[in-house]
């Protein structure tokens, strides 16, 4: 009962887009699909939906090879959003629902529910091309979930939405996950991935470079981050093999209060140094507002793994 990709390969012409991709996404999991632009995310999603076929390898859903028949049961939000431009939104949602086998009445009921939840109001009576991009995206998301799919494939569902709509979408995400639906989605917003996903994978140039739970991916780089806020001086850090000047690429700002100046710094814990020792010295040099030993953010992990040294 899961989505499986087994040594999947795909080339377009001479260009190998996906290379020996292995993935297993258990049923009921919210799975983040990460990778830089052009890594092959959309291609992989299209292969799962049988829009294009792998050159070799297998893709199965619930032990069955994916085909149009399985794809029909999935919910899909393509990267290139598209609705019939001159069709009234309400009719359009109904059309797609009935195409997936829902009765007119049942479709209308669900459309009513989701339209209200997504605060569409009078927009459903308008033609699609009269709607803003963000609103069209909400419509397409509703279309993707109307037939209550067991597997949802969402290509960048959050891109282009304002913060209010992002929250609406997130709450829908959580509800769908609670109902035990499997969700595979891609995003470049790491905070969304951290917040919503159980596990994730990162692909780069068609190859899998990381795969696992959010926590395990974060520890993958072996880095630990110290976040320190202090009223006083930071000069003592020079005594550890840390170069204050070099740290400037990390957060290092001064906050003016009424009476005090808080200095904040965030840096990689150097190998072989006990964080407790740093804390002890820090106490001697000022008033500690915050001292934290943590994993790097997913954003940093992503940048480290995908390339670009930081």
């Amino acid at each position: 009962m899961s989505l499986n990709l087994i040594s999947v390969n795909k080339s377009f012409g001479d260009k190998q887009v996906i290379e020996e991709l292995d993935l297993r996404i258990p049923k009921g999991e919210v799975f983040g699909f990460l990778g830089p632009n052009g890594a092959g995310k959309t291609t992989t999603m299209r292969m799962i939906l049988d829009i294009i076929r792998p050159d070799s390898g297998q893709i199965t859903w619930q032990d069955e090879m994916v085909s149009l028949a399985t794809a029909r049961t999935f919910g899909y939000l393509p990267e290139e959003r598209g609705l019939y431009p001159k069709m009234v939104v309400d009719n359009q949602m109904n059309f797609f629902a009935r195409l997936r086998g829902l009765s007119k009445a049942e479709a209308a009921k669900r459309i009513g529910y989701w339209s209200e939840r997504f605060q569409l109001g009078e927009l459903v009576k308008k033609k699609a091309n009269e709607l803003s991009k963000g609103n069209q995206q909400k419509i397409q998301f509703i279309i993707a979930i109307l037939h209550q799919p067991e597997l949802l494939i969402l290509d960048e569902p959050f891109s282009g939405l304002d913060p209010v709509n992002v929250e609406l979408l997130k709450s829908a995400f959580r509800d769908l996950a609670k109902e035990g639906r499997t969700i595979l989605f891609s995003s470049h917003r790491m905070e969304h991935i951290e917040e919503l996903c159980d596990s994730l994978c990162i692909i780069k140039a068609g190859k899998l470079i990381a795969n696992g739970s959010v926590g395990s991916i974060k520890r993958l780089t072996g880095r630990q981050i110290i976040r320190l806020s202090i009223v006083g001086t930071l000069d003592f850090l020079n005594d550890f093999p840390l170069d204050l000047a070099k740290l400037s690429s990390n957060i290092n700002r001064q906050e003016s209060g009424e009476t005090q100046v808080v200095k904040e710094v965030e840096f990689d814990l150097p190998k072989g140094i006990d964080p407790q020792a740093i804390l002890q010295v820090a106490i001697e040099h000022g008033q500690i507002k915050r001292f934290e030993i943590g994993d790097p953010s997913l954003n940093e992990v992503f940048i480290t793994l995908v390339g670009g040294d930081v």
Partner: protein
């Protein structure tokens, strides 16, 4: 079920479309205008009445012309009316002057001077316009005839001999082996074929374009990706073609229904070409059945080509250019069909009538106008069906891969994708 939902969308979307409503109404206006055309023509034709004043010495010529020139206008009135002015050599010049003044003032259409004094064999036609094969020619023919008879009579032949000389030959046409047995029937068939072929030509171009535009719209709006993850491309294409076909039929039902309604109301035939009246009751029903078959198959054949071409285009503004060759093909088929109206048994035309692209128009024309064996008809339908199926299959493939191609699409690229998906 899916097919039904899809057809519903294609159909519903289009019949509510402004373009559709406007073109249907314009068509209705054209039909109304056409059916009232004879009445309107009558009004216009009344202006063609000619009032001719004849200046002569005896008054006999006027009587003769009045008897011989019985030409009627469309509204049943006589075209010519004659007025005679008798004059002799003394007052001829004065009378002539008065009459010419009347002519210039517009009180008479023409003044005919017959055998003025001193010139017994001359006739002068006074008119305000240069006459090209009109009234003057008709009158000239009659006068010529009159003079010939008088001259023969003067040479001493009797009336009986004269009658014998002038008895016309009994020339009778009998056509064998053809469905149309009389000239009238054949003329009516040609009119029918002409009319139906034009309808087919118009439909292929207009509704074919609808199909291509529909596909391009799905591609350019990127809705295609969602669609192909849901339904088979062949289902999609079939639905599009059938839906748009149904739109076309709706339009024709409205138009033809109105046309037939008006015909029964007026109880008169409709006159498409002046002088040839078209009677609904005398149309051979078998022709209409054949027309239905060729219309549907022809539409399917061309529509699937239009759909395939649409799949290769990404931007709506490129559609017109891409369908250019198709339009050319349809025009060519129409031209060949027009030629077949005059020589349906020309070997070239017979051959071309079995080329699928031409079959719907050319073979249909031949069936009505000449003797095509049942086997020939079936063969034509069969090759049309096979070609349609093949083209629909190819178009379906092109449709399937077309979605992934944006920008410039080469045939080679397309062929490769069709093979490997």
């Amino acid at each position: 079920m899916e097919l039904l939902v899809l057809i519903q969308r294609e159909y519903g979307d289009r019949v509510r479309n402004k373009t559709f409503i406007v073109s249907t109404i314009l068509g209705l206006i054209a039909i109304l205008a056409l059916s009232f055309a004879p009445a309107i023509m009558d009004k216009i034709k009344s202006a063609d009445k000619s009032q001719i004043t004849i200046l002569e010495q005896t008054g006999q010529v006027t009587t003769y012309l009045d008897e011989q020139l019985q030409n009627k206008l469309l509204n049943g009135e006589r075209q010519f009316s004659f007025q005679t002015v008798v004059a002799n050599s003394t007052d001829w010049a004065d009378q002539k002057k008065v009459l010419i003044e009347k002519l210039v003032a517009g009180e008479t259409s023409a003044v005919l001077e017959i055998a003025p004094p001193g010139a017994p064999d001359s006739v002068v036609w006074h008119s305000k316009k240069i006459d090209l094969g009109g009234d003057a020619t008709k009158i000239n023919v009659i006068l010529q005839q009159m003079t010939t008879q008088q001259r023969i009579k003067a040479s001493g032949l009797s009336q009986t001999q004269l009658t014998t000389i002038f008895t016309p030959l009994d020339f009778d046409m009998q056509v064998e082996g053809l469905k149309a047995s009389s000239k009238e029937e054949q003329t009516q068939n040609v009119t029918l074929v002409y009319f139906l072929l034009f309808m087919l030509y118009f439909s292929l171009i207009v509704y074919g374009m609808y199909v291509a535009n529909g596909v391009v719209e799905e591609k350019s709006s990127r809705v295609m990706e969602m669609m192909i993850a849901t339904v088979k491309p062949t289902t999609m294409m079939t639905a599009k073609i059938l839906g748009i076909g149904a739109v076309g039929l709706t339009q024709y039902f409205i138009w033809i229904g109105t046309g037939l309604g008006l015909l029964t109301l007026k109880g008169k035939g409709i006159s498409l070409i002046p002088g040839i009246t078209f009677q609904v009751t005398t149309i051979e029903p078998l022709y209409l059945i054949y027309f239905g078959i060729f219309f549907i198959l022809g539409f399917l054949l061309y529509a699937s080509m239009y759909a395939g071409i649409g799949a290769m285009v990404s931007r709506p503004e490129d559609t017109n250019q891409a369908v250019g060759p198709m339009t050319f093909l349809i025009v060519a088929a129409f031209m060949v069909a027009m030629m077949s109206l005059y020589s349906p048994d020309n070997p070239w035309i017979v051959g071309l009538s079995y080329v699928p692209f031409f079959t719907p128009m050319v073979l249909f024309a031949r069936i009505v106008l000449t003797d095509v064996s049942t086997l020939g008809v079936l063969l034509g339908i069969l090759d049309l069906v096979l070609a349609t199926l093949l083209l629909m299959w190819i178009a379906g493939k092109m449709y399937r891969v077309g979605v992934l191609m944006y920008g410039k699409v080469s045939w080679r690229h397309m062929m490769r994708l069709v093979r490997e998906r």
